[in-house]
Every structure is written in structure tokens, then in C-alpha cells.
């Protein structure tokens, strides 16, 4: 009698759905990780009691000035480091030595770049995004520079409180 050849059963997992899901997750993390804009420096905004901060409506004529702390967004950093302001950043570009005149020039450049007519300069909104630990004396030169550039609208960034806390 001829010997019967024994063939083992070939069990194979269907990997395709798992790979599909994994790729979906990777794409999500890649996209979600880039959501933070370059305009936003690493800092922690203030969180006032019953914050009234609301989402920005019109971002067409919107400029952000970041006033980060030297401690960045590390809440556990040493206090001495945290109370010093790092370089101001506008439009992703730092202002060396926190030069007030350079900030005024940059703001005027921004106005010129967008061809904003003089009568509409007042519509331009500058958002002051400062770290909660930075002393007030570090913010005052920025307020003065904004006014010097002829911009009247200024918003202050704060952490939005969930409605149930209000």
C-alpha cells in the first residue's frame, strides 16, 4: 500500500483589518500632533477663576505675540527661571533681546505685508499670549509696542474653562 502523504493544516491570521486600524491610528497621531501651530510657543497661559476666554472668531487679521517663560511649558521648573521672560515671538520669529523697537518694526511689517489700509489697521487684532508666571513688567513693553504700531485691538489668551465650572 502506498504511503499517504500527510499535509498539515495551514492556519493563517487575517492581518489586513489589524494593519488597517493601526495605520488609521498612526495617521491620527501624526495629524493631531501637528495641530499645534508654529505661532504658538511652548508656554502655559493663565487660568483665571471663571474664565471668560472664548474662541477667536476672525483669524484673518490676527497676530500672536508670545511671551514665554524661560522655563517653557514645564510647570515644575525652578521659580527663578520661570519668572524670567524668554525672547518674544511674533509670527514664529523671535525678537532678539526683547527689543521693543524691533517689535514695533515687525508689527508694521505685518501691516505692510497684508496691504492693510491705514483706516483698517484698527481692525487688526493682536493676541498677547504670555506665560502665567511672567512678571507684568515683561509684558508692559509689548503693550506699549502694540499701541505704538497703531493697533487698538488686543486680546489676552487664557485657558478656557469648561462650561460646568462657570
Amino acid at each position: 500500500m502506498a504511503k499517504k502523504k500527510h499535509v498539515g493544516a495551514n492556519v493563517d491570521f487575517n492581518m489586513t483589518p489589524m494593519i488597517d486600524v493601526t495605520f488609521q491610528l498612526i495617521i491620527f497621531f501624526i495629524i493631531a500632533g501637528q495641530m499645534a501651530s508654529d505661532d504658538l510657543a511652548a508656554l502655559i497661559p493663565p487660568e483665571p477663576y471663571e474664565s471668560l476666554a472664548s474662541a477667536a472668531l476672525n483669524k484673518d487679521r490676527w497676530r500672536i505675540i508670545n511671551i514665554p517663560s524661560k522655563a517653557g511649558n514645564d510647570p515644575g521648573a525652578a521659580d527663578v527661571e520661570a519668572r524670567e521672560a524668554d525672547e518674544w515671538i511674533i509670527g514664529g520669529r523671535p525678537i532678539p533681546n526683547n527689543d521693543q523697537n524691533l517689535l514695533i518694526t515687525r508689527l508694521r511689517e505685518e501691516i505692510a505685508r497684508d496691504n492693510i489700509p491705514p483706516e483698517e489697521v484698527a481692525d487688526l487684532i493682536v493676541e498677547i499670549r504670555a506665560d502665567y508666571r511672567v512678571p507684568y513688567k515683561e509684558v508692559v513693553p509689548v503693550l506699549l509696542a502694540i499701541r505704538e504700531a497703531g493697533i487698538a485691538k488686543m486680546n489676552v489668551t487664557a485657558i478656557v474653562k469648561p462650561p460646568e465650572d462657570l
Binding site: M15, M18, I19, T22, F23, L25, I26, F29, I30, A32, G33, M35, A36, L40, I44, P45, P46, E47, P48, Y49, E50, S51, L52, A53, S54, A55, A56, I67, D79, V80, R83, E127, R129, A130, D131, Y132, R133, V134, P135, Y136, K137, E138, V139, V140, L143, I146, R147, E148, G150, I151, A152, K153, M154, N155, V156, T157, A158, I159, V160
Partner: protein
């Protein structure tokens, strides 16, 4: 006709397939090695899972700066409410809110909001009084935003910033 080839007349022609070819048909299954790809994919997934941090939800507290050259009081009968911020505590992290002309000292935004509401009641519901925020230079930005936020919460129409005092 050559040996081994069968040809049928009619709708189409069927070619002869040798028994050896028939045996081989369907047995060769080409599949790229998926294991390294899945390994790399999971490494990426783990990397994004571990390094990902979502930004805190930020919002704006709307404000406006005075135009250069403005500063003349428009209505001398409306008495401004000046809130002085004095840095206290170790490393000047904390603050006392003092109201000019009233012997009131507060430590929290909650107390400040209650004071503002009481003051509006005393003024017969009028919110025309300008609120002037006058912090010491060392006062942290979070406390300045706290006063700004509470003045907005109390529905004061005008809120201003004074230069940093010593």
C-alpha cells in the same frame, strides 16, 4: 495536429494544458513578509502614543488699547476703580488686590468678582466706571489676567492697564 493539443470548434478554443501544469496551478501563493512592516508600524504607534500630549484649550479675553495721544478724561464725574496689585509671598508668587479709596484687600479672583458686583450695585447698576489695573512690576501675569477677567465678568465697559509700578 500536434500531439497533446485539443482544439474545439465553436464558441472558443480550449488549449491543451499538460497534467504537470495543472498540478502546479494555484499552489504558488505569493505573499510579501508582513512581520517586519507590522513591527515597524507598532513601534511608530507606540512612539506617537507615548510622546503625544494635547494642548490645553486656549481662548481670548477681548480687550482694546488706547490710541496714542488719548488720555484726557472724557467724563470727570465717573470715578475710576483702580485695582492695585501688590506681589506677596515667597518669590512674589502671590498677590493682594487693593482698591484705591476703599480699605479693601483681597486675595482671590472670586473675592474680586464679588467686590465688583457689589460696587456696581452701589452705583445703581452702572458699569460706566473705568477699571484701571495697576500692578507692581513683579506681579505675575496670571494675576493681571485674573483682574481683567473679573472686570469683564462684572460687565465693566472700560478696563485699562497702568504702567508697572515699583
Amino acid at each position: 495536429m500536434a500531439e497533446g493539443i485539443t482544439k474545439y470548434q465553436g464558441e472558443g478554443a480550449e488549449h491543451y494544458v499538460s497534467p504537470r501544469k495543472k498540478r502546479g496551478k494555484g499552489e504558488t501563493k505569493m505573499q510579501p513578509p508582513l512581520t517586519p512592516m507590522i513591527d515597524v508600524t507598532f513601534q511608530l504607534l507606540l512612539f506617537f502614543l507615548l510622546t503625544m500630549t494635547f494642548r490645553l484649550e486656549e481662548g481670548m479675553i477681548p480687550g482694546a488699547l488706547p490710541q496714542k495721544g488719548q488720555g484726557e478724561p472724557t467724563d470727570p464725574l465717573v470715578e475710576p476703580i483702580t485695582v492695585r496689585l501688590v506681589a506677596t509671598g515667597e518669590n512674589k508668587q502671590d498677590v493682594n488686590f487693593l482698591i484705591d479709596g476703599a480699605n479693601v484687600t483681597m486675595q482671590s479672583g472670586q473675592e474680586l468678582l464679588a467686590y465688583f458686583k457689589g460696587r456696581i450695585e452701589n452705583l445703581g447698576g452702572s458699569t460706566d466706571s473705568p477699571v484701571i489695573i495697576a500692578p507692581q512690576g513683579e506681579v505675575r501675569w496670571r494675576w493681571v489676567v485674573e483682574v481683567f477677567n473679573q472686570a469683564h465678568a462684572a460687565k465693566f465697559k472700560e478696563v485699562g492697564f497702568a504702567p508697572a509700578s515699583g
